[in-house]
Symmetry: C2
Subunit: 189 residues, 2 copies
């Protein structure tokens, strides 16, 4: 039998890199203008500085049930209007699959919701292990002043489904008001 060979990747936290880097996805503001409530400001900034909002280093693994995908994600600090930088967020294509995030650095919020729009928000900080059970869509938001770096694991064949998230965003939004971090209702729902 031909066995898939074990191997190591190495996180270099200070350099914010994975070695080997695998498949690197870089999302600049121009790629994710629509995830922000203030799309006008997002658009303007995307035409000037166009900052990197987040990066994901994906280790390359077969997309099969017995395998485990894993990645290092980096969400940079910043805001568009009063909304913090964040990932697009998604359900899994195979909805009944889960995901785990181990936070290595920074401070964040993990925003989740079910297909029937039940919501849950967890803290992310160094040493937090967040369990995202089957069926929950998930997004990460950087609420700190430094990059939010976390390790993620999910089933090999889980896939991504942007679905309703792409149309209406999440039920809950994470915004700054008077120097405070607030979880508010999304007016789109």
């Amino acid at each position: 039998m031909d066995y898939f060979e074990p191997f190591n990747s190495y996180i270099e936290l200070e350099k914010m890199k994975l070695d080997p880097e695998g498949k690197l996805i870089i999302r600049r503001l121009s790629d994710v203008v629509d995830i922000f409530q203030d799309k006008k400001t997002a658009k303007e900034i995307s035409l000037k500085e166009n900052p990197i909002i987040y990066k994901v280093y994906n280790v390359q693994i077969p997309e099969e049930n017995g395998h485990l995908q894993h990645c290092i994600s980096i969400v940079f600090p910043g805001r568009i209007g009063n909304e913090y930088y964040m990932t697009k967020g998604h359900f899994h294509k195979i909805k009944g699959t889960s995901e785990i995030y181990l936070t290595l650095k920074g401070r964040g919020k993990l925003v989740m919701q079910t297909p029937d729009q039940k919501s849950k928000v967890l803290e992310m900080k160094e040493g937090s292990i967040s369990y995202i059970p089957p069926y929950w869509a998930h997004r990460t938001v950087n609420i700190g002043d430094e990059p939010l770096i976390f390790f993620g694991v999910y089933r090999g064949d889980a896939g991504h489904n942007y679905g309703i998230i792409e149309k209406k965003e999440f039920v809950k939004l994470i915004v700054e008001r008077n120097g405070q971090i607030n979880v508010i209702d999304n007016p789109n729902y």
Copy 2:
């Protein structure tokens, strides 16, 4: 639909604890005398100090395909004769499932083998992410002077199968000789 609720666990590296601690497994030498080549010495020490060889904090998750088990393991430093402290090691009950280790602290060797006794040994050190693909039995060995602490993730229903490992141990042994760390052939094979 009833959804399993998301939740956090927190690693406290300095205290070597998980909070909440989940299901804690403590393996003292008396529990694992037979994994060492020098069983006579192991037995003697187990009747005196009986040190803890390793601990595993298991987060409690349904044992189902869509879920992901996760745990924090701590292998303490030490040797029995010239053999370093290590875990029992196992295949998964569902053999075609994988596992991932992210090393948080310490230095180790990850010893693996296939059912047809092909062997592979990877380094473990802070920031190493080791991918244990489907079918590979796996054991961790502490080759350093401090606890080896790592985060593990595997499919909810993967299970454990000690099988041939319990009878013959692994094809490769990790031993100290003249202050050096050596990977040697197991005479049982």
